[in-house]
């Protein structure tokens, strides 16, 4: 019951905070939104890498699928959405929820496709496979004309003769068209509502008997299997729900940035999310959230010394690995929690 009340009250808080955020400096506002998106990405990857112990390096791939699909739907089908739900706030909200969920579901389906065959692999092999998958996604998007290929995607041109495209084709320069840019749906409220949802989701899941299955898979697969835990099922569930939220994060990102480029979802993006999980402490929700916040703000703080940014960044990681290999909030936090219980 406690977590339910906490969840609902945080939603109300987010709603009221949203009223204030309209007056924030756009620069800080952007950082705030990115913090939210990165928390979603990091906590969802934490379910796979931290709680279930499967090393996935392909989170940017799922994010790309969710992001691209959702903005493609909300631009190419913009006339449909406007016609059905209207252009008022209510209609926009419904359209947004639909495209968000579509993005999440598409990423989740991709998660099944990748997860079922590759989760038989362990450790490094799984990491390489998921990394390869993410790169495949990126390369496919790069060659998909319908979402702007390597030039990125800003919106859809819908021509009077019915043709739809991401760019004006050469032979149709004289045909009248309407340009539907990506609607700016993402705001503080939606981003942090999803932050609250994913935290609530993972918290409840992990603390239930069902969720013990994930931790058991991480700790000892053979023993878990012998105790009747279908380890493959649990791995796939973790993978697919992680992918779903990555898809949502991508959709939020797309509807905030209003422009997506395949390069946004390259190998470095995946690594960035993994670093958040490792820095925060595998399997520690609080740690991962804090790490996501720090790693979003840090590059901005280091902007004045941008030439040394990557050096400081990697130095920080090395120091972390040497001094606290379990992450900022690794095992120690959970030990405290256990003590309180007894």
């Amino acid at each position: 019951m406690n977590s339910k009340i906490l969840f609902l009250s945080s939603l109300i808080l987010i709603f009221f905070l949203n009223l204030f955020t309209e007056h924030i400096d756009p620069y800080y506002y952007t950082i705030l939104i990115y913090i939210g998106i990165n928390i979603i990405l990091a906590t969802s990857l934490n379910l796979i890498n931290g709680y279930t112990g499967q090393f996935s390096l392909g989170h940017a791939g799922f994010m790309a699928i969710g992001g691209y699909l959702s903005i493609a739907v909300s631009t190419y089908f913009a006339p449909f959405f406007m016609g059905t739900f209207g252009t008022e706030l209510f209609g926009q909200t419904i359209s947004f929820i639909i495209v968000l969920l579509l993005g999440g579901i598409a990423a989740a389906i991709a998660g099944i496709v990748v997860g079922v065959p590759s989760l038989r692999l362990k450790g490094d092999y799984l990491a390489i496979t998921t990394l390869g998958f993410a790169e495949i996604i990126r390369v496919i998007i790069q060659s998909l004309e319908v979402v702007g290929a390597s030039q990125g995607f800003r919106g859809a041109y819908i021509f009077d003769n019915g043709v739809k495209a991401a760019q004006i084709p050469v032979d149709m320069a004289n045909v009248p068209y309407v340009f539907y840019s990506v609607p700016k749906y993402t705001n503080f409220f939606w981003t942090f509502t999803f932050v609250a949802i994913i935290i609530y989701f993972i918290h409840n899941l992990i603390n239930s008997t069902y969720g013990r299955g994930f931790l058991a898979v991480k700790d000892d697969e053979v023993a878990a299997e012998s105790m009747g835990v279908n380890t493959t099922k649990f791995k796939v569930i973790a993978f697919v729900s992680g992918a779903f939220f990555a898809g949502i994060a991508g959709a939020l990102y797309g509807h905030f940035n209003l422009y997506l480029n395949p390069e946004d979802f390259n190998f470095l993006k995946s690594v960035e999310i993994v670093v958040m999980v490792i820095l925060g402490g595998m399997g520690s929700m609080v740690g991962v959230i804090i790490a996501a916040v720090i790693l979003t703000i840090l590059p901005e703080l280091l902007r004045s010394v941008s030439e040394y940014r990557m050096i400081i960044y990697s130095l920080l990681l090395i120091i972390m690995m040497l001094t606290r290999p379990q992450g900022l909030f690794g095992v120690s936090l959970r030990r405290k929690k256990l003590k309180v219980k007894s």
């Binding site: 989701f201 008997t209 069902y210 931790l215 700790d219 105790m227 569930i237 256990l338």
Partner: protein
């Protein structure tokens, strides 16, 4: 069971009756643990069949075998190190969850009721085995003997009909061994289950088992009551080597 050209367990014909406590002994490398791994579905036997309550479990995966009611402990303790004793046991209830994935997240009535049920069962088990004091400790921080105990409790929590114990007395001191013997007897009486026990310690084996079979080089060389086994020349030979005198 063959691994490549190596025949590990050959023409083993054995059974465990209902509520029977059977011991399986044999020198190192005789194939005892392999038998466990075949029964629990870790290995698929190259030939032959394993039947449990009339069902052939040969093609079953380990978790399916566990679902049928065969549970085991491991020769080298395999507890979940990052989980508390209570949660180690809780994992055994995962297979009997009726509330699904979404129930666990939304946590409505059905889920709560089931979770409470599990809690009660876990507490009951912990009490029977005197582990309530350490319930919230990390399983790995317990002394060796206790860890063995937790492993047995975890296996019992899956409510098995057949319990396979792989060298439960290994590494125990005489007092712990004595306690273990009582524990095994108690488990059998209280939970009314069949137990198949691998053990090297003859005192333990002779002390608790109702029937024993002996494995050597993957073949059954003897079977019978503890007294008979103790005097069986083939068994003595397998353990001590041939006597030339």
């Amino acid at each position: 069971m063959r691994f490549g050209g190596l025949t590990c367990v050959d023409k083993l014909n054995a059974y465990v009756g209902e509520n029977e406590l059977v011991g399986m002994i044999g020198p190192n490398g005789a194939g005892k643990t392999t038998v466990f791994n075949i029964v629990t579905g870790v290995y698929d036997p190259t030939e032959g069949d394993v039947k449990f309550l009339g069902t052939s479990v040969v093609s079953f995966k380990p978790y399916q075998v566990a679902g049928l009611g065969i549970s085991r402990t491991f020769q080298n303790i395999r507890l979940f190190p990052s989980l508390s004793v209570r949660d180690n046991i809780r994992v055994s209830f995962v297979k009997s969850i009726k509330a699904g994935f979404f129930d666990s997240i939304l946590q409505f009535g059905r889920f709560k009721k089931e979770e409470k049920e599990f809690d009660e069962k876990i507490n009951e088990l912990l009490e029977i085995f005197g582990l309530l004091d350490v319930a919230d400790e990390y399983a790995k921080s317990l002394p060796y003997g206790e860890q063995r105990k937790v492993e047995i409790v975890r296996a019992l929590a899956t409510s098995p009909k057949l319990l396979l114990l792989d060298e439960p007395a290994a590494g125990m001191n005489p007092t712990e061994k004595f306690e273990l013997m009582n524990l095994i007897k108690m488990v059998k009486e209280k939970f009314k289950i069949s137990i198949l026990l691998i053990e090297h310690d003859m005192k333990v084996v002779m002390g608790v088992c109702e029937r024993i079979f002996v494995l050597d080089y993957g073949e059954k060389i003897a079977e019978g009551l503890p007294e008979e086994i103790r005097k069986n020349p083939k068994v003595i030979e397998a353990y001590l080597g041939e006597t030339h005198a």
